[in-house]
Amino acid sequence: MHNFEYREPDTLEEVLALLGELGEEAKIVAGGTALVIMLNQRLLVPSHLISLRKLRDIDQIESSDGTLQLGALATLRAVETSPLVKEQSPVLAETYAQVATLRIRNMATVGGSLAHADPNQDPPVTLMALDARVGLASANGSREVALDEFFIDYYETVVRPDELVTRVMVPRAAPHTGSAYLKFLPRTSEDYATVGVAARVSLEPDSGVCQDCRLVLGGVGATPLRARDAEDLLKGQKSTPELLEAVAAAARQLTDPVGDSRGSAQYKRAMTGVFVGRAIDQAWERALA
């Protein structure tokens, strides 16, 4: 690892002031699971690390007016095991539980995993399907960004160098809504997803048709991909094998995967279709329950 200066401010204000001062020369570190590897591999050589580890009160998991609020410093494990999350959004707890291993989930944080913007991660896919929003703060104020406008490219987000992710807000789902996240692991049971698919389906109780839906694809593009065309095909419809085939085809169309040791680009594209169908089926079933 190269040499850097480690700063560990006690308050959010100090963090933001430092960020404003150091800008791109500094990297923020929270859990460190992704950053420390890149430092160790010498892929990153920042002059400063600004640690969030002494900050208090931004690791809370709360609910207000039906909106789930995940503090940026909440660990993935805290979300996975939170009774509140399990009650309000079981799919979110299920998704966080599928990330890497217990050790990583004990270290990695909600905010860090979004800011890192690795397109192969699990939580952003589900969060996007749940219409999550991200709270950002800088010395000059704060703002909110919808998660489906948050990611720009591989490992790139709209977060400015002087900004910090402070929280994630997940609205309560409408009644008669079911959600699912499926992670395809063809190699070993602990890996990045070859494909991850999150589906959220809201049904009209009387007709049983899909009133609203979200379909988000992970690991098959530069960012998690929201498959809007596929969603449109599903809206107002009942689930049939033919429809699901068309939805899967629309989703496949959107993908632009990178081939790697988890599968070639063609395979990832093909598997997107398979898991879109399976995720919708599961979400649909849950919506009926």
Binding site: M1, H2, N3, Q41, R42, F184, P186, R187, T188, S189, E190, D191, Y192, D260, S261, G263, S264, Y267, A270, M271, V274
Partner: protein, 749 residues
């Protein structure tokens, strides 16, 4: 036979140290004033080194030495053939080859300095495929290989880049094919697998004021390492002192010097002890993974379904150097089991080991066996199907029998393949209805020799009355020391606690170390004989003290007593005192077993699995592993070898691959090179077909390199049974199954 200590599930003698963190592995060795070495590796697969500028690195604060080949003696090293430079001299031959080394106070500083070394390369044409490398116009990696020390002249070849061509034969292959009515030809390929030990290679060297090199090294053959280091750095062998350490997993891969010569040169230069620990990335780009192989089979069969001729051409990708191969043929001995568990009268096997600009390959548990077994056990099914014979029946018609000659020259005794195979079938769901469509079952079988080699030991009665066995064989995790403890305790008999085993490689001058499924056999047998000898000496000393005949002395609860008079008794500590100074109470011996015993071991496995036809994903529902075993000395250790080898074999068959593209490894950490984890293991039934026949002590046999071998073939055969697609290469990944299914569907309809 009934035994009191043999057969007991004793925990490893190293257990308390290992579960508390007290056990010392090489990387745990911390010496006063110790510094760290880090290497700069070649980014190119084949190039001439034009210049190396180390000035800036040398001037960096905290840097104590920077060395290139120009600073070292012009030596080559290797486990048998010396073909590998300590640092690349003039030329690099693979991506990851060591070019320069830095020593610094701190490993981070050493890494900082590496970035300041400027190397100018001139690229040379490279070859990345063994078959291509054998063609007439291929670039030559080692034009001078015939002059390398210990290059086996007998196996030289005229083919480009082939450094060893070995032929094994039984009968007359032409005659065999003349007898055959049908001839079948198939080609299979297998890939590179890393040993996957959790401890990466580490070395520590401290050169003392008398110029002696003290060596700590993750090497399972420490006495050999002493000789190799001495040669590599041009020291007399007795100037190298190897200190014992625990080895954090071997699986065949830890027999080389790795960074030890560099530690020596840095230590000599700086006057400080030097430690080098490879990162796992270095392991994956420059370790010594399993040889990729291309296996072409030609099988002659009579109309009655009898295999009469079997010819195999096996091409191993040796990578850029052959120095990781530990056998005198400098080839992969497992190739001689390419004819499988069949008693084919006419066999010819040609194995070529070929230089390429890839990562140098080395030995991995049962070297060569999983590769050729995948080929032969797939081909048996293909042939059976083509001839309309049930594959199991076809196998049974051709099984090897007592008195058959193996290609390696062994005439077999006590062959129990039939029982082993039948036990596997009977314990599985073979022939029963299947729970789901796309469920398949596959079987495969293999054999493994019990290894030969040289054993050394010292055994003595200590003053506290314990019997101590001193061995040069280190603990690599297999429980060898526990087995030796049990052998001594049983032979004597003594309570196990009264027997201690200690690894002291520095006390011996030669030894084969651990490996090749040899330790229980060659070391166990020697220690058993020495135990009897020491016991006789103890009896004589005790008899004098007890005033009786030596024959009258008996051992009970660790005491020696005059037979029939329980009041006339001595503790062993008292005997030791009485015999103090007597040379016969400390025995030291060497024994060489040149040949593998005629008795071998057989394995048969049945895999039941389910394929998801939409994704190609394979889920193993059950594995039955059946083993031909003798007396089991330690059931915990014995089972551990079966379980661990099996999961490693599943990794080889469907999960693991060191992926290389033009010599560049892309699976460079354990997040990309995946090892099977605790959730990936299948339900397992182990069947032991036991008979007290074996060459090792108490009629025991080897087990360490058995279960890894047939599993990949059994998986391939089960996938075929499940979905009807046949695989000619490994690993069988979900994606390959998916593609094969799509291809079949698009061709078929």
């Amino acid at each position: 036979m009934t035994y009191t200590v043999v057969g007991k599930p004793l925990g490893q003698v190293e257990g308390p140290a290992k579960v508390t963190g007290a056990a010392t592995f090489t990387a745990d060795v911390i010496l006063p004033e110790m510094i760290w070495g880090k290497v700069l590796r070649s980014p190119l697969p084949h190039a001439r080194i034009v210049s190396i500028d180390t000035k800036a690195a040398e001037q960096m604060p905290g840097v104590l030495a920077v060395l290139t080949a120009r600073d070292l003696p012009d030596t080559l090293t290797g486990r048998v053939v010396y073909d590998t430079p300590v640092l690349a001299r003039d030329q690099v031959r693979f991506i990851g080859e060591k070019v320069a080394v830095v020593a610094a106070e701190d490993p981070d500083v050493a890494e900082d300095a590496l970035a300041l070394i400027e190397v100018e390369y001139q690229e040379l044409p490279a070859v990345f495929d063994a078959e291509e490398a054998m063609k007439p116009d291929a670039p030559l990696l080692h034009p001078d290989y015939r002059s390398y020390p210990h290059a086996p002249e007998k196996f030289f070849s005229e083919l480009p880049n082939v450094h060893s061509h070995v032929t094994w034969q039984v009968g007359d292959i032409e005659e065999g094919f003349a007898q055959a009515q049908q001839v079948f030809e198939y080609t299979f390929t297998t890939h590179s697998q890393h040993q996957g030990f959790i401890e990466p290679h580490a070395s520590v060297v401290s050169v003392d004021s008398e110029g002696r090199a003290h060596l700590w090294i993750s090497n399972k053959m420490p006495v050999r390492a002493q000789k190799l280091l001495a040669d590599a750095v041009e020291l007399p062998q007795e100037q190298v002192v190897v200190h014992p350490v625990c080895i954090g997993g071997d699986f065949g891969g830890k027999g080389s010097l790795m960074d030890a010569p560099l530690c020596y040169h840095l230590s000599k230069r700086t006057g400080r002890p030097v430690k080098m620990v490879m990162t796992y990335t270095e392991e994956l780009m420059a370790g010594n993974p399993r040889h990729p192989a291309t296996i072409s089979l030609r099988t002659g069969v009579t109309d009655q379904g009898k295999v009469v001729a079997f010819q195999a051409r096996v091409v191993f990708d040796s990578g850029a150097y052959a120095g990781f191969k530990p056998v005198p043929i400098v080839n992969i001995p497992g190739a001689n089991s390419a004819a499988g568990v069949y008693g084919t009268p006419h066999v010819k096997i040609d194995a070529y080991s070929v230089y390429t600009n890839c990562v140098p390959s080395g030995h991995v548990r049962a070297p060569g066996d999983p590769q050729v077994t995948f080929a032969v056990e797939s081909s048996m099914e293909l042939i059976a199907e083509a001839m309309g014979i049930d594959p199991l029946e076809f196998r049974k018609r051709n099984l090897v029998q007592d008195g058959d000659l193996l290609p390696d020259g062994h005439r077999l005794e006590h062959v129990r393949i039939r029982q082993t195979l039948e036990a596997a079938i009977e314990s599985s769901n073979w022939g029963k209805p299947k729970a789901h469509p796309h469920v398949g079952r596959g079987v495969a079988a293999s054999y493994r020799h019990i290894g030969a080699g040289e054993a050394n030991a010292e055994i003595r009665l200590e003053s506290d009355g314990t019997v101590k066995v001193i061995t040069p064989v280190p603990d690599t995790g297999t429980g060898a020391h526990t087995v030796l403890q049990q052998v001594v305790a049983e032979t004597w008999p003594l309570p196990v606690e009264q027997v201690q085993v200690e690894a002291r490689p520095e006390l011996f001058e030669t030894d084969s170390g651990a490996g090749a499924s040899r330790v229980t056999y060659v070391v166990g047998q020697l220690v058993k004989e020495m135990t009897e000898e020491l016991r006789a000496s103890v009896c004589r000393v005790a008899a004098t003290a007890l005033e009786c005949q030596a024959e009258e002395v008996v051992f009970e609860d660790g005491h020696c007593t005059v037979k029939g008079s329980s009041d006339r008794t001595l503790t062993l500590a008292q005997v030791a005192e009485a015999g103090s100074g007597k040379p016969e109470l400390s025995i030291r011996k060497t024994q060489v077993n040149r040949d593998n015993p005629q008795v071998t071991t057989f394995t048969a496995q049945v895999v039941e699995l389910e394929v998801d036809p939409e994704t190609g994903q394979i889920k193993i529902l059950e594995v039955v592993t059946s083993h031909d075993v003798g007396t089991i000395i330690n059931p915990i250790g014995h089972r551990g070898q079966i379980d661990g080898g099996l999961v490693q074999g599943i990794g080889f068959g469907m999960i693991e691959e060191v992926v290389m593209e033009e010599g560049q490894v892309s699976t460079l950490h354990l997040g990309d090179y995946k090892l099977p984890n605790i959730k990936d293991i299948p339900p397992l039934k182990t069947v032991l077909v036991q008979e007290e026949i074996g060459p090792a002590p108490f009629q025991s046999k080897a087990i360490g390199e058995s279960s890894i071998t047939p599993i990949a073939a059994a998986i391939a055969n089960a996938v075929y049974d499940a979905v009807g697609v046949r695989f000619y290469n490994l690993p069988i990944t979900a994606e390959k199954v998916y593609r094969a299914l799509r291809e079949r569907d698009s061709n078929g309809e």
